[in-house]
């Protein structure tokens, strides 16, 4: 199995799959040890470990562990959501994409943001009213516990696995480059720290790690964008004019370029990003940490603002990179005659645009700060993913499927902690195995699976009376398999990796096809379901409906 996976990704190094790939962290080389960055990062680690210690003392019940006791305020939760969502790939990758292609970077920025209103209008409040710890609580509210928890947990673990591999490999390479640490050390540090946060501090520690990281990242990015605009008299027009002058593509960077050439591909990418957001398990979990639907609603509103603001900053940072770095040869590997390719020869690759820009703006200490922020960013995202994966194993698979509900809080939480340790070790191992593979398409795949399995099962069980267990199970399975199979048969894997002459599935993004397929399957199979259980489940919709719409009977803010 590992050999197949290895083979799968081995040849995707040269994959041109810009869509499925998304912003990625390319190949890097180890650089000199960066002491200011290490110092600032150590400070972050100490602070977060202190918080974890405090959180561990206050984490007693299952509600504390999975949902921070439900006592997180809307403002704090919005920062935590933003922290979970703003990955290093979006900070470094999108600013790098803007640096190379200008306008095209905006296509990803908008795609990553527009899922949030959908989460708010259709999901957030109902999720809070119906659920307790995981989105499977909600999906299985009136459906069969065993089957629906299995499909939800599988969907969760697949999303977490692909997302986690991409983050671990990115982390290793980034840290190698930023701190001058060997790849394996970097991966081990990330893995061990995320185990400590999750296993000891549970949701409380994970939340505060996200909050601190979000503040650091937003603060650092604000300072950078501000400094860039300051150079151009706070007039974006001057910044753009300067960028167009020095960029090899000239004025073309202000217009859509080659990123989206095929309309179907563009729409499919959009569908995956938009609805994938509404199916990411580590994001959905955050809605159970607030006291009620009002707080859930407000946290999405603030989070959308923070995330949108962040994407506008990355756009300015990307253009600042063009305007301030492209005319300075010291940021490039010079060729024989002292010449360099502005798009290909940047030291550390184009993903280092934001980092190199930090140096240009604030010198080595600000460079160290931004490097430490990038590390903290990865750490926070993997901690969130680990907690979501561990909860799916302990709360869904163990407590409801294996123990059939006959277990204690204490045993469930202990199993969750153990799962976090196992997930961490597996993540270190996968990070090591995948070191030299192109894993960028995995983030796209994670979003596609979230949009094609988790989102249809969740939304149909909440919104449509007719949904039955058979329908949700079949639809979730079809969506999951369709998304994975379509990616395997696409150019990125089928041609580049497996060496076949032509892709069987013509697009890099499957969501436009796999998501409607999942919805249609849920619908058709539910309609055909004439079982007595199906009848009971349709009848039980009424009770679920009242609770999802009003919150009457919802899980309270504290332990039960």
């Amino acid at each position: 199995m590992n050999r197949i996976l290895l083979g799968l990704t081995l040849a995707t190094i040269a994959a041109t799959a810009a869509y499925a790939a998304g912003p990625d962290l390319g190949a890097v080389q180890q650089s000199a040890t960066n002491w200011p960055a290490i110092g600032m990062f150590l400070f972050f680690v100490l602070a977060t470990l202190g918080i974890t210690y405090k959180a561990a003392k206050g984490t007693k019940s299952a509600a504390d562990f999975y949902a921070a006791g439900g006592g997180i305020s809307a403002g704090t939760n919005s920062l935590a959501i933003a922290g979970d969502y703003m990955s290093a790939a979006s900070f470094l990758g999108i600013s790098g994409l803007v640096y190379t292609s200008g306008f095209d970077g905006l296509i990803y920025s908008t795609g990553f943001l527009v899922g949030w209103p959908i989460v708010l209008f259709l999901i957030a409040e109902r999720l809070r009213n119906l659920g307790k710890f995981t989105f499977a609580d909600v999906a299985s509210f009136r459906l069969d516990q065993t089957s629906i928890r299995i499909i939800s947990a599988v969907g969760t673990l697949v999303v977490v696995a692909f997302y986690l591999i991409a983050q671990m490999v990115g982390a290793g390479k980034l840290i190698q480059l930023l701190f001058g640490l060997p790849y394996l050390y970097a991966v081990i540090i990330v893995g061990v720290l995320m185990i400590v946060y999750v296993a000891f501090g549970g949701m409380k520690a994970t939340t505060w790690v996200q909050v601190i990281k979000a503040c650091l990242l937003l603060g650092g990015a604000t300072f950078m964008a501000g400094a860039v605009l300051y150079r151009y008299g706070f007039n974006p027009e001057t910044l753009f004019a300067n960028a167009v002058q020095v960029h090899p593509k000239g004025d073309a960077i202000m217009a859509p370029g080659g990123l989206v050439s095929n309309p179907i591909e563009a729409i499919s990418l959009g569908v995956g990003l938009m609805f994938g957001t509404a199916g990411l398990p580590h994001i959905l979990m955050r809605f159970f940490t607030v006291s009620d639907a009002q707080a859930a609603r407000k946290s999405v509103f603030y989070a959308t603002g923070l995330i949108g603001y962040f994407y506008i900053l990355t756009f300015i940072i990307g253009f600042g990179g063009i305007a301030l770095l492209m005319s300075d040869p010291s940021y490039y590997k010079l060729g024989a005659a002292g010449t360099f390719d502005k798009l290909k020869d940047m030291i550390g690759g184009t993903n280092m645009v934001a980092v190199n820009l930090a140096n240009a703006i604030g010198g080595p200490y600000f460079l160290g700060f931004i490097s430490a922020v990038a590390f903290a960013t990865i750490l926070a995202v993997v901690a969130g993913l680990t907690l979501a994966g561990a909860s799916a194993i302990s709360h869904d698979l163990y407590a409801q499927v294996i123990a059939r509900g006959r277990t204690t809080d204490k045993r469930e939480v202990n199993l969750s902690k153990l799962s976090a340790v196992v997930i961490g070790i597996v993540a270190i191992f996968l990070g090591y195995v995948f070191e030299n593979q192109n894993v960028a398409f995995m983030v796209g795949l994670a979003f596609a699976v979230a949009a094609s399995c988790n989102f249809p099962v969740l939304s149909m069980s909440i919104l449509w009376r007719g949904t039955t267990t058979w329908g949700a199970l079949a639809g979730g399975l079809v969506g999951l398999l369709a998304a994975v199979i379509m990616v395997v048969l696409s150019k990125a894997v089928w041609v580049t990796t497996l060496g076949n002459p032509a892709p069987i599935f013509p697009y890099d993004n499957p969501a436009l096809f796999s998501m409607p397929l999942a919805f249609a399957t849920i619908w058709v199979v539910s309609l055909m379901d004439r079982s007595r259980r199906g009848q009971r489940e349709r009848a039980a919709f009424e009770a679920q409906y009242v609770r999802s719409e009003t919150g009457i009977g919802a899980s309270g803010a504290h332990a039960h």
Partner: protein, 125 residues
């Protein structure tokens, strides 16, 4: 929040199959569903949520559609400067998404919460 009701009846940990509980198992559910307050709340909020959802879909996929089908339009310069129409549209999509969430929250905080409170009063909670 409110707790201690039998609604939804998800005593934890729930044995398999216990989620399948008919509405008839709890007469309060049927009573709440029949109240005009509940009908109005659900009708208004569902309608509002779907209208905003469709607005977001139209704006976002309109933007993506222009990128796919009319690149020339997006390359048009605004006010004779460097910034293109596409750039303004991209930033507009981001601001629009945020504004829509604001519109929903404002409506929910006033109208929907009021309806919800009225409902809770009328069912005697």
């Amino acid at each position: 929040m409110s707790s201690g009701t039998t609604l939804g009846a998800r005593g934890r940990p729930a044995p398999p199959g216990s989620g399948t509980l008919g509405a008839d198992a709890d007469p309060q559910v049927a009573r709440i569903v029949r109240t005009p307050e509940f009908q109005q709340l659900v009708h208004e909020r569902t309608r509002f949520g779907w209208i905003l959802t469709i607005l977001m879909l139209v704006v976002y996929f309109g933007f993506i559609g222009l990128i796919a089908f009319d690149k020339a339009l997006l390359a048009v310069k605004v006010g004779g400067g460097t910034a293109s129409l596409g750039l303004f549209m991209g930033v507009f999509v981001i601001l629009f998404a945020f504004a829509l969430t604001g519109v929903y929250v404002a409506r929910a905080n006033t109208r929907f919460d009021a309806l919800s409170d009225a409902l809770k009063r009328s069912v005697g909670r």
